[in-house]
């Protein structure tokens, strides 16, 4: 078989940096959607823990370590973000979950960007209707919301946010974010924002 080179949807476009904010791409080895069947959530948690992972997070929350993170991703849906990668790493959903939950490999369906820096929150305020101040949207919080008319999943990181969009709108989202970064940086230079 031909050995194809995988490219991310944002290949060569990131990182993008302005004064006060950096936008970079994050590449997860595997993204798996977990949708527990009705009444099977406890069994799914038992299975996840047996595999050495964390239990499913509560609504609007993140669980697990950075390398193997579980995020709430909407009604009845969770995403497992696994940083491991390489040829030996199998992204096929685990058959042990067959009776417990609908699992599907979403690795190439989503693009994850990281927005960090002192003005990250001001950048998002231009595009997103949520209150993302640190006292409200805290570490471990995740939200499904709107970013410039696109559906996104975003969660707080120690120095900023991770923003997840479907691959088809990756470049639009990136351009809207970098545009907002330019705008915030320019206003800061002009002294219009402190």
């Amino acid at each position: 078989m031909v050995d194809l080179t995988g490219l991310s949807a944002l290949e060569g476009l990131l990182p993008y940096e302005v004064d006060g904010a950096v936008l970079s791409a994050v590449s997860y080895g595997a993204i798996t959607s977990i949708m527990p069947f009705r009444g099977q959530k406890t069994a799914v948690n038992v299975r996840l823990k047996a595999d050495g992972g964390a239990a499913l997070p509560r609504i609007g929350r993140v669980s697990g370590p950075v390398a193997k993170r579980l995020i709430w991703a909407g009604r009845g849906q969770y995403l497992l973000l696994d940083l491991r990668r390489g040829a030996a790493f199998d992204t096929t959903p685990d058959p042990a979950f067959d009776e417990l939950a609908a699992l599907s490999d979403q690795t190439s369906a989503w693009v994850v960007m990281r927005l960090e820096g002192a003005r990250a929150q001001e950048v998002l305020a231009r595009l997103c209707p949520l209150d993302l101040r640190a006292g409200v949207f805290k570490r471990g919080h995740v939200a499904r919301t709107e970013l410039a008319h696109m559906a996104v999943i975003l969660w707080r990181r120690p120095k900023g946010f991770e923003i997840m969009v479907v691959r088809s709108v990756a470049q639009v989202a990136m351009r809207r974010l970098s545009g907002a970064m330019d705008s915030v940086a320019a206003q800061a230079v002009l002294g219009e924002i402190s």
Binding site: G60, P129, R144, T145, A151
Partner: protein
Amino acid sequence: MRLKCPLCGDRDAREFHYRGAAKLMERPEAGAGEAAFYDYVYLRENPVGANSELWFHELGCRAWLCVSRDVSSHEILSVELADAVKRGQA
């Protein structure tokens, strides 16, 4: 206008898609006859005051919601998960 999604909390109306009267949840049985389906598909109440509606949290958690809204004032009286309402009925 804001809707308080039972999963996500208070969210701006732009995150939601309005589907129509909550009557859409009460689909007649297959053999219910033409009159029942005519009523289900075409006939709607037109109240002044509280109206039961179906909204979809499209740019959010993707849950269908049963919303009671005062159509004169746009006041949101209640928001429940459509799934919970439907199962409560069953």
